[in-house]
Symmetry: D2
Subunit: 288 residues, 4 copies
Amino acid sequence: MNDSAPLIATLLLSCPDQKGLVARISQFIFQHGGNILNLDEHAEREESMFFTRVEWDTKEVDLSQQDFENEFAQLADEVSANWKIRYSNNKQKLAIFVSKYEHCIQEILWLNSIGELEADIRMIISNHTDLEYLAKQYKIDFHYFPINKENKSEVEQKEIALLKENKIDTIILARYMQILSADFVRAFPSRIINIHHSFLPAFMGANPYRQAYEKGVKIIGATSHYVTESLDEGPIIEQAVTRISHRDSPKDLISKGRELERSVLVRALKFHLSNRVLPFGKKTIIFE
Amino acid sequence: MNDSAPLIATLLLSCPDQKGLVARISQFIFQHGGNILNLDEHAEREESMFFTRVEWDTKEVDLSQQDFENEFAQLADEVSANWKIRYSNNKQKLAIFVSKYEHCIQEILWLNSIGELEADIRMIISNHTDLEYLAKQYKIDFHYFPINKENKSEVEQKEIALLKENKIDTIILARYMQILSADFVRAFPSRIINIHHSFLPAFMGANPYRQAYEKGVKIIGATSHYVTESLDEGPIIEQAVTRISHRDSPKDLISKGRELERSVLVRALKFHLSNRVLPFGKKTIIFE
Amino acid sequence: MNDSAPLIATLLLSCPDQKGLVARISQFIFQHGGNILNLDEHAEREESMFFTRVEWDTKEVDLSQQDFENEFAQLADEVSANWKIRYSNNKQKLAIFVSKYEHCIQEILWLNSIGELEADIRMIISNHTDLEYLAKQYKIDFHYFPINKENKSEVEQKEIALLKENKIDTIILARYMQILSADFVRAFPSRIINIHHSFLPAFMGANPYRQAYEKGVKIIGATSHYVTESLDEGPIIEQAVTRISHRDSPKDLISKGRELERSVLVRALKFHLSNRVLPFGKKTIIFE
Amino acid sequence: MNDSAPLIATLLLSCPDQKGLVARISQFIFQHGGNILNLDEHAEREESMFFTRVEWDTKEVDLSQQDFENEFAQLADEVSANWKIRYSNNKQKLAIFVSKYEHCIQEILWLNSIGELEADIRMIISNHTDLEYLAKQYKIDFHYFPINKENKSEVEQKEIALLKENKIDTIILARYMQILSADFVRAFPSRIINIHHSFLPAFMGANPYRQAYEKGVKIIGATSHYVTESLDEGPIIEQAVTRISHRDSPKDLISKGRELERSVLVRALKFHLSNRVLPFGKKTIIFE
């Protein structure tokens, strides 16, 4: 982002549905000098909930970021809203967890290097050293934490400390072949993104391509989701599929899956980084 | 739509871009008792134009439809806007033009019969009698206008008169194998929807499947667009494609194309009927 | 098919893999005057099984159909093959089971009426009378068999008798909302085709669109499969998917699903009717 | 490929259609000890041409490669066939031409490094030095040939000499922003593969994303084709598309296109390298 790029603010907000919300929010932003560039909203009828995402150019806003948030908090309180505002010059800090597969992390590192993600990738954490070369290539800190049954809890505590210390906003599990403990997950709610190599909820757990092969499905998929304490059951952010046939061996599925996995994870990550995702219960609202 | 269904108003508006438009419009609707259900907008940066679509529940609106429009017209004038408001109890009146192919019209008639389109299909016009049986089956007026070089202009005048007399809102060319004159087209601007059986701008004109076969493309498509005076060049509303291979004969392309054509035409028609399309120059804005 | 259309024979064969199978089979056909139009084969390495599909023009074949089969049986025995030969002038006899949904059966009836399926649809069987009008429209026998817990076994016996008496080759469950008993299924092995409105194995059982809605998936699917004694677990013939978003209500999923269901069922049926499907264990080989 | 991997031979053959071709060819291979693993064929009815691809395990073949070819040549002559046989231990030698865009070449280099392409990438040729770092990273020779109007013919002669000297089988234009002369193209018939960033034949020539943006299409594509003397008109090997909307700026199209371009080029390259492509006139037969 160069100096002359406009500073954009993005609001994500959810609250019980009620009349006049769009008018009140857009009026508030307008009155304080914000030029609304995009406004998207969704009313979930079964739950009677309201969700919105608003982007505005802050150039002529008449309040500091802090004062704007303080004033907006009053409006938000009146409608019992959960909300956050992010600014375009405040890149999210990422940590990427990997084991031995390179296709997902490589894609993320490359896309970020050409300005497609606008993320601040602060560290790569791995239980193996296989991908250390990528960290060197892209000049990112690499932390090697070998894990076994005995030391798992202790290692996770060190990882959590490291992540907190570096104020990591979002953790990407880019084919990280370890299951995180409930304690770890609770430390980063809606802030850990995983890629699972199946069309969830089909083929949860281990070896989904093998499961797909044995079931004889004609289509395989990949799913990116927020990590919750229930394995492979967190809110889905993005999914995609590709056709297979009886000619495809399990090895072919792995090969076709690589392309799916990396593109689904990247799309999920782009949604997340551009503040387009509102997790709600077991689901997500994606403002594309 | 049953009696208890809410009466929904939909605004489509375009104007030169300027600050505060979303706030002004949403505030106006809110102040008059409208409960905004959906608001979508788009700013076209290269052209500096603003487009919006707003849906609101009119239950507690404090003005008659006429008064609401009169008052809104003042706001619209101030921002030099083109706009229209439609109400959900005011179904669009359609005329469907066909020749001999049934797949597109059959799909439209069936979907409307199960409530998927919410259109008022007033008449079928054809230069052949092959599809009169469908008109009977669905109890719709059928008008047979045989056309040849000599009578074309005269017949079109009769058709225009018939369409005007019946206050037809939108004309669907459901594989109508005649080219409409410029006079006819000018009588219904942005109100004639065609389906062309290729992925435009590839393979304009006659026999697009034959053209695709001879070119050896690996994918074929269909395109639905508004009809303008330039054949096959009107603003595109919707497109879709399907894979083919060297095994597909020209006959196979026609068969695969049938499924494409009807689904693309129906999607375009749904966008149009739910007031989601804003034509702008040679293009369209589709508020999905 | 007109008189001058060539009479095509199609062989489907599976056997343990061994050297020279393609050569032996193609040589046999060639020596008896058959002109091979298509040959497709597949070797399943994990199971060491061989599958093939061969089409030939029978114009200059020097044996009667019966003699050809007798001679071929010797070759087939030597390689321990399962096989069958079908001729293009011998249309399969179909029975279609429905309840109240029309979209799938309507598509099948229409496509057959324009020559796209080349099936001999002999009867429609239903536990309701809602779709009798389609039977009349297409001049097909309609059999009404109301079913309840008490009479289910008895009714199924009547249905089986009716189907056998009419030498029905294939049964289509076109959104038939009853579960067939194991006895019924065993009477027609690999000859009953179902459409399930989910991307199996996700969302088995009742209300799959509701399940998909509550899970928050971003893609929904439909699956056509042979019916076995395990509900929704028979060998998959065809699947397809479509994207959805948080904006889609359960009703929208039903609407989007209709298009999926009918197209997936029709594709499966086309594969089956053109002898392109070899069920093998829990899976299928599809020679596209 | 490890020592124990079977040595596979692949035949690609085209000839005027006639009876018994499949039988003769499969019999020939079988008689000489070849175990046929795959056989695919296609008869082009309009042109009365026959095409086939056969793969066999050579382990028990009773002739040397040279003798096998000599004997097969007799059969081929009798049926006036064009043909070639390739062996799996004989990797194709590739040269990749690039200018400044890295996404396509990077994908090819990476996939080859993990064994997905089984190509022998011998050199990278560029008119810029921007991507020399990739050559270093993957330890491949990099040749820098700056080109301008004056030296173009001379530089091409040097490139041709270099390619011939290194016995390059196939040339990949991985977003090479120069037009090759007719002389260059004639030196490598059906051996130069290009990626064009549009759904050909739509948007030939320069700036196809800009053209697509201005036309307002709802889908963009990419096309990989053999290079002939007519720019962007060579036989198409592979195409793919992706949806866009009015929200996508020209910059967004470039970003979405990157993913398309690399995946289409890689698929085309995989078809070519596994001997699945038979160019025929202005089209290709792809034995998937």
